[in-house]
Amino acid sequence: MPQANKTVMGLGLRHPHYRQIIECPPHEQISWVEIHPENYFGGGINFKFLEKIREDFPVSFHGVGLSLGSAEAVSAHHLQQLKILIDQIEPFQFSDHASWSMSGNAHLNDLLPLAYTAENLDNLCRNIDQAQHVLGRQILIENPSTYLRFKQDEMTEWAFLNEAVARTGCALLLDINNIVVQGHNHGFAPTDYLDQINFAAVKEIHLAGYTPREIDGQVLYIDTHGEQVHNDVWQTFTYAMAHYNPVRTLIEWDNNMPDLDILLAECAKADAIITKAQAQGAEDHAA
């Protein structure tokens, strides 16, 4: 059975670290792991590793394939594959993204941007309802990183997400890195986002590294998940923890995968920020 651990920190489970986590479970630094369920469909070697790791850590599913923001309905086949894996592994949580990937005959391997219109909100809510119905549980939706916005936008991203929560009863996965990326790319203060988002609906936080890319003298932040968490992301996370209660928090790293020790050090850094914010909160409350 998974061991009890007071930390809210978790780790995105990736193939290069399977054996190390099985042989020496890092219970001091993390209390849960998160997977992309699409990598475990079918019951092969990845699934066998996951079954072993499940013995030591509760598992969260972070989907990348529902395409919740698509104009078309969610794939019934994909939902069914998720349901089978959920029944096998029994994750404590399921999340996917407020974005789209599927259009017509193609599923593009990316989290593509939504136009924040009433029509797209209707479609997103319809697809969240479908997913929650088939999976038989509340799901979380994650705020995106984007590199363009549409002239047809009718509301802010946080208003769009808050409305989706209100209409469907879903929860939020708040990616702090994505907020920083959005703030830089689209010109707003990340703290404004945190002040406006319905934080009571946030059940998980992601922290990750972006990569600055210069195009014609203008720097855009690209959500690469391939570097350590940047200082402005840590600062935004510190702001969030100073204003809200901590929730499960994950270090997410997908490219240029480092040694497990580096990931665990990032977890420890986040944990220290949470602990300090809680101590400060207790002091303020006592005063």
Partner: protein
């Protein structure tokens, strides 16, 4: 239902064609960069990401044909055959056939065979685990197999392949130039079996008789019938030695 503002269809078409739709470009806020530059970031992510998926699934194509060729072929495939589902483990299973049909690949006639072998290895990795005959349990099952009371089939992780080229030796040479250069004359057929034992996928070069036997089992023959068929063409087939090796590599399921 189509969107009133159907940017998703337009964006998908643009990303997969390298041509930006004018109507779509008009709907994107420039904010200091052109709409085309912003679309270029997504094109880089989508197509570049899928190229990496293909190269990871077929890892020997770069050392054999070079980075430019391998990436160019992958990009051509992606634009012509984008993924149909979010399960990328199922993507590009037909890449060997695609390569075989490309005129530019004629310079590397062995490339589609390598891709076919690496596809079988990929499938073996993701195949479901089922109960198998192993060195530990086989003695208990032999009486039932002898009495034809137990149907034995190939483990779903097992794949079979015939090629004009010594694919395993070629791959070893591509990965390590200290390995001896293989004979690439293409005059003799080579036979391969991919198997999975616990958490390890392995490929083996096998004899023509072994290939014939395993192929017969794959097509539904029971062990006795498959052996009978094999011995008709290969009377010297040492079934006992092969059987021992196959059981050791978890080739048979029940």
């Amino acid at each position: 239902m189509p969107l009133k503002f159907d940017y998703q269809q337009q964006m998908k078409d643009a990303l997969l064609s390298n041509h930006d739709d004018v109507a779509l470009m008009d709907e994107i806020c420039a904010d200091g960069l052109s709409a085309a530059q912003r679309m270029g970031i997504y094109r880089h992510n989508v197509v570049g990401g899928l190229v990496e998926v293909l190269l990871a699934r077929y890892p020997t194509l770069v050392p054999l044909a070079g980075d430019d060729f391998a990436r160019g072929m992958a990009q051509r495939y992606i634009l012509a055959h984008p993924p149909q589902s979010a399960n990328l483990n199922d993507y590009a299973a037909d890449y060997a056939a695609f390569l075989a049909a490309q005129d530019e690949a004629a310079e590397f006639p062995f490339l589609s065979g390598i891709a076919a072998l690496e596809n079988l290895e990929h499938l073996a990795y993701y195949a479901a685990f089922v109960p198998c005959l192993t060195l530990e349990n086989v003695d208990g099952f032999l009486p039932r197999i002898e009495a034809q009371d137990l149907t034995v089939r190939l483990n779903p992780a097992v794949g079979l392949l015939q090629s004009a080229y010594p694919l395993r030796d070629l791959r070893a040479y591509a990965e390590d130039n200290n390995c001896p250069a293989p004979d690439m004359s293409g005059g003799t057929p080579h036979y391969f079996m991919v198997s999975r034992r616990d958490f390890m996928v392995e490929s083996h070069e096998i004899s023509a008789a072994e290939f014939a036997f395993l192929n017969a089992v794959a097509e539904g023959a029971d062990i006795h019938r498959a052996l009978e068929q094999t011995l008709q063409n290969a009377p010297d087939f040492d079934f006992t030695a092969s059987w021992q090796k196959w059981v050791e590599h978890h080739v048979f399921a029940f």
